[in-house]
Symmetry: C2
Subunit: 178 residues, 2 copies
Amino acid sequence: MSLSHALLTSLLEKSSSGYDLARRFDKSIGFFWHATHQQIYRELGRMETAGWIASSIAPDAGKTRKRIYCVLPQGQAELLRWAAGPSSPMDLRDEFMVRLRLDAAVGPLGLARELQRRIALHEEKLALYRQIEQRDFAAGSSQARAALIHHMILKKGILYEENSIAWAHEMLEVLLLK
Amino acid sequence: MSLSHALLTSLLEKSSSGYDLARRFDKSIGFFWHATHQQIYRELGRMETAGWIASSIAPDAGKTRKRIYCVLPQGQAELLRWAAGPSSPMDLRDEFMVRLRLDAAVGPLGLARELQRRIALHEEKLALYRQIEQRDFAAGSSQARAALIHHMILKKGILYEENSIAWAHEMLEVLLLK
DNA sequence: TGCTCCATGTAACACGTTACATGATTGC
DNA sequence: GCAATCATGTAACGTGTTACATGGAGCA
């Protein structure tokens, strides 16, 4: 939808190379927005052409091609312009729901195993999020606006995982009924 | 990801024209998987070429081009093959989270209004889902396996909306702090 | 020497969105 | 006759995925 704006925001937080950006992205915004390195390099190229960002050879480049990207005033203006517009709520495109409908239509497909695998994945993510929460947002510490917002974003993820696990357990009972 | 399998499943539930499929899709699987009619016609063409489905002129076509698609044994086999594989859990790609990070980075952007708009959207959807629940899955009625599954899918949507609304209210407080 | 990680890229293709176009049917 | 809806399609473009390729740096 607007990967470019997500990348711009990440670059605004910290100028970095495409590679670093890819890794940071995976560990922050990437929790709810995955992007491959190919997408990222393509977008960086476009944004540089558009004059939103500029690149320079990294101080620690040596003989490598490493370059650092930073946001130009034009890029920042574009971000603010974008942020003022409406945002469409995400849709929950979940393959597993289709499989469930198929199961309902043609009879038991033995989806319980797959559902249990998914529960394990959700629990892994939840554990990770809670670990981050304890590390970065210790209970009782007074928090600045920015920290509060980051905490709320993380909480969104935590709620989603908890929600998914609870639902999956109930679903499992239905699948195991007979 | 596998729109084709979602469409196949929908066609298996009921053979229909591309247009009807698009409308039914929007009102069932489409609650958590939107597709435009262009995507649907394209996929139908591909699946017919692949021998998964067959089309015939609709009985009520008159002078129109209306055609009915139905799933062939090959298509059904493909569905079962697909259903046996692993399904990747969906990612929560939400633009608004990026806006929040931007707000945290550069200062208040006045996102409260937009958040309130989103709360209203979530509440609309929730009301719709609950209405469907009352209509199709009346409390206390004994339910067959298929109905139980459909009910659980709907519940997934209901939980998600409730979840989103609760989170959004908490988020709103943070945004309105100062 | 060979392995892994850092760092960037090309190419091809699949999937999703938007705009535009066409013609029949239905209801006012 | 006109508008809305039914029904299907083309074209162009933007986004996302997968496979493959290149070369430097650090380490055993």
